[in-house]
Symmetry: C2
């Protein structure tokens, strides 16, 4: 029966301490065996944080039989590399069989990967990128506050990783929003891969966390289980409005004489002879060779947890239809849709369903209406995009439909790796970037995100949608709110005409339903096709007019769904004649490149020209920038005519 | 005659103060006029930092007639949006005509962009992404220390931007390396776009900088020029080993009654009527309409500075040839080449030519030999990749051949936006990433960089090279050391066979010279072509053998130069028969996608199959991961056979 402490006790009982000692021995064995068996992994930090891990799992509310029970507390191992320690303790609590772990650790398909992943029962979050776990934990802690629940969040971090700047951003968030349900545990073993933390990059955690407003508690001995218990218990019951950090002085490789305080054991495993010595020190039998034999069998993979599947029920609200005669920016279409979603889903006196996060750009990204309607559900996270992206991912996995909005350069380019970690974690985040493309204009190249598609294509679980006008924006925003999964929606900065049919009626009218992977023929044509999306759609319709005047029948295809792409529409276009792709995006990494691959895959080679951004943009009016790069209506029409010969 | 202060004076003279006052009026006029004329831009912060700007340019060593004189001090405006303030002061010093600025501000091709760029005479660094400028300044300051020069670096920052975590990383670097030649100036106007900095995200700069080891000086009145002078002068002459930050309390919109302390003037310009009032307050004539007329003329662009062109002369050293019979990891090939370059170029008693930067991975990225040879030139920057990438870019522009090495996930994915800013700045950084692809194996998906090409393709000035073995690695590393510009070189983790010719001799032997944009036919064949690069090259040669046994004549093309791509070789392959691309990279964003675009551009559609990574990798042996994703020799051969029918 695994330990569960009575938190009203002043100290651990001697029986509890004795149990912990026994558990420690068993877990240390697993740590050493698993890493030696895999001949890779991280035994040193696993041993230095082991006592904290063991005590934490005696304090936290959790149920090995129901690893995703709603009432559970959360434990985030930001140091994902101490997976041997985490798995050892989870095995101790019965989350899975020791055998599956030892036979499978770091083997393909086993379910026991080298950095902790949530396919392992009991693991909350895939980690591995240092410095990102605190953003996750903060997002979870904030989620519980929004829900009015008393669940607690522990976040185990290394001391080396404290060097990552993102951590400071997460700290500030926790302090600003008084997340006293959050406890940070720092495994202060004073070593990182290349040596002493003080040699590599001096830092004072006490001053940093304390100065930023945490209750910073130093634990003189991070292997004294009773002292750990008392500090963790106090932090667990803390309702002061101030989050806690426990900085626990520990020993790398603790418990194995020749491993202690040696940096090399961060990432070096014991060869067979050293392992034998270590197991002897622990007083346990050496069954290394038997396990080596077992690892010759196929992996079982039987403990693998499927991704979280819960997602809130969301009302899409009533579509807003923008008229023909009044150009509107897609940003406003987004903002209005978001407010409408808040009205339909966020009810007074209840936890919100829709959450909005921005980084000092509330007005620019048009979240002000949402903020006004749902003040509690709007998180202003300051100019801290790395943290904001990470924490948005975490909140999206706590059953909030989480919209994260800032300019494209910050929502995509700056936080590429944070969104990537969200993607690993099957998050449900809705990244809506305003200000993408040369359409940003005068703010110049740093602010012109011309790589959203080029970047997002590298994920496996993000959809990418680029609306052509405010009407399509409205419908896309409602779609992504209702649908689980990661979605990116991008839009320019400027006001844009409402897209109409040839007869002048609204194209994306009240009857329009957005369907991923389905492009729209805005104009039919038999001679050639212009494929476009987003801010340049009006220019392409303008080009269509010019071509019509020149006697050419050219189709205009709006590829608002870029991931998934409407491959059938591309192939249909290829059968009609030449294709010109037009995009406010790097010409080598956007739609044109995707379309080329679709065509080649099917053995088709129509005449084709890819128009897009061919050099970093300047600072000036979007119309001038477009013209400079051959993306104005005249240049587009000219290109089509050239292809038609 | 612009002001130049005598730094031995205790105070500014009344004449100097009077001059500053007049300059302030002229500059404030330019700030207001330029932003109103452009109807976009940032007047508020330009006015709050104006007095600091004016005093700084009276202290710093600089020459408007020779903006890139070697002996100049450096001024980095991390808040790139206060370009109106910076340009106004530079105009005051005669770097360019006021007219070009006012007539051109924020117009395409004018040379006066919305965020400061180094095309403007006197501007050192393109900025616009908040939080990155300090990394630049730190890199410059470190460069001067390495050169033994007494140039000084000032970095002007906003207070809102202090929220960015990257700043903490830069601070630590400056403290660790005792960069007392660095002075940070913070424009503490207490406002950011969405309101009070204390409401948006509370922070205490004094505690943060002071706690981390800076000399943190508070300036009670950031508009008192004599006080600014005294504090800046002390910082300028500081040789304490401790860097300085001046936190200057200022007023947003300072000097215009109705603009003061209003957050909206961060990014809002004055309409004509308000401008008239403001100019009246300054006591200057309102010539707004005349300037509007002038802005109807084409821009002159005559002050535009070309990119920095200086680059050190580098000895390539003697190539190292790795034998056939001993598999070696490309990482070691890199490390050995780097050490060899150090031996050939970094001479005792002289400033180094080659600089190496890593982030707590010295041994893994094989920089230990370099470190040992050139201890001073090796910078261990801790787990602080965002800062490290930025600072590497800055050092590369100070005439150091700067190698920045860490794992691919951190060197590319984590710092995409930092490398992007380097690219804007025409840096010469050499990003060498070890541990790319599924070849990373057991460490799992967070550590498997499968998007290096997908990401790097979005830049315009980076080359991307992927060596196939240690011999090619050696030659590529020497090539990029000698050549100016941004280069990325990626490699896997594992030992890999030496690539040989069909007769068993070394392919990349002592006579081999690496040429960008030139692929190598490792095996000739008439029926079909396998195009590959990097870690999977041996598997493709293995597949070639299997196919040969099956009676097929298949070519193997090693596309080590991915940017620029050898388009001719792709087209030549297409003329021979079916193509299979094989890469340890996301299948939709790598070589296969590039090749597809090359073919479509030429109207060719050979039978083609793109093999690559189709889902996030697992944790296991590389060989198992390759097999799982159809990237082993058998699967490759099978695919070729299928295409051959």
């Amino acid at each position: 029966m695994p330990l569960k402490f009575d938190l009203s006790a002043a100290d651990l009982s001697s029986a509890e301490l004795a149990s912990l000692k026994e558990m420690r021995t068993r877990c240390a064995r697993r740590i050493l065996l698993s890493t030696s068996l895999a001949a890779s992994g991280h035994p040193g930090g696993s041993l230095s944080s082991l006592d904290m891990l063991l005590v934490a799992y005696g304090i936290l509310r959790h149920d090995p039989k129901n690893p995703r029970m709603e009432a559970r507390d959360r434990f985030v191992a930001s140091i994902g590399h101490i997976s041997p320690g985490v798995y050892s303790v989870l095995a101790e609590h019965g989350y899975f069989n020791e055998e599956d772990f030892l036979a499978g650790f770091r083997r393909t398909g086993s379910g026991f990967p080298g950095h902790v992943e949530s396919i392992v029962p009991g693991v909350e979050w895939d980690t591995g990128n240092l410095g990102q776990g605190l953003s996750t934990a903060v997002g979870m802690a904030h989620a519980f506050k929004l829900k009015g629940l008393n669940n607690r969040v522990f976040c185990l971090m290394g001391d080396g990783e404290q060097q990552k700047g993102q951590i400071v951003e997460a700290i500030r968030h926790a302090v600003k929003y008084k997340l006293d349900n959050l406890t940070v545990l720092i495994d202060r073993n004073k070593l990182q891969i290349c040596g002493s933390t003080e040699d590599i990059m001096p830092q004072c955690m006490q001053k940093l966390y304390g100065g930023l407003g945490f209750n910073a508690v130093k634990l003189e001995n991070g292997h004294d289980c009773n002292a750990i218990y008392k500090a963790m218990r106090d932090a667990y019951r803390n309702i002061s409005g101030v989050p806690t950090v426990l900085i626990a002085q520990t020993v790398m490789g603790k418990g194995i004489s020749f491993m202690e305080n040696k940096a090399k054991y961060h990432g070096s495993t014991l060869p067979a002879d050293d392992l034998a010595k270590a197991l002897a020190e622990l007083g346990v039998a050496n069954d290394f060779e038997q396990w080596q034999e077992k690892r010759k069998q196929p992996v079982s993979g039987k403990s693998i947890m499927p991704p979280r599947a819960d997602y809130p029920s969301v009302q899409a609200g009533e579509p807003i239809v923008y008229p023909v005669d009044k150009p509107t920016d897609c940003r406003s279409g987004y903002g209005n849709a978001l407010t409408s979603l808040a009205q339909a889903n966020n009810k007074a006196g209840q936890p919100p369903v829709i959450v909005g996060i921005s980084c000092d750009l509330e007005g620019s990204v048009k979240m002000d209406g949402f903020h006004k309607h749902s003040p509690q559900a709007y998180l202003e996270l300051g100019i801290q995009e790395h943290h904001a992206a990470g924490t948005a991912g975490a909140m999206s996995c706590e059953n909030f439909v989480t919209f994260f909005s800032t300019f494209g350069s910050f929502a995509v380019s700056e936080v590429y790796n944070q969104n990537r970690l969200n993607d690993f974690n099957h998050s449900n985040v809705k990244v809506v970037a305003t200000h993408v493309g040369l359409d940003v204009g005068e703010d110049g190249p740093t602010h012109q995100c011309i790589d959203y598609l080029g970047l997002m294509k590298n994920y496996f679980r993000f959809s990418v949608f680029m609306p052509a006008d405010p009407n399509q924006t409205d419908r896309i925003i409602r779609h992504i709110a209702v649908q689980p999964g990661n979605h990116f929606v991008g839009m320019g900065r400027s006001k844009t005409p409402t897209i109409t049919r040839e007869d002048g009626s609204i194209y994306y009218d009240a009857d329009y339903v957005f369907t991923p992977g389905q492009a729209d023929w805005l104009r039919e044509g038999t001679d050639a096709t212009i494929i476009t999306y987003g801010a340049l759609t009006p220019a392409c319709i303008e080009a269509w007019k010019l071509l019509k005047q020149a006697g050419k029948s050219v189709g205009v295809l709006n590829m608002a769904s870029l991931l998934p792409l409407d491959k059938d529409a591309v192939l249909a276009a290829a059968k009609r004649g030449p294709i010109v792709t037009v995009e406010d995006h790097h010409v080598e990494t956007g739609l044109g490149a995707s379309a080329a691959a679709v065509l080649i895959d099917k053995g088709l080679a129509p005449k084709m020209k890819r128009l897009g951004v061919k050099q970093y943009g300047g600072s000036g009016k979007p119309s001038d920038l477009y013209k400079q790069q051959g993306l104005d209506a005249e240049s587009i029409a000219k290109t089509v005519l050239e292809l038609l010969g």
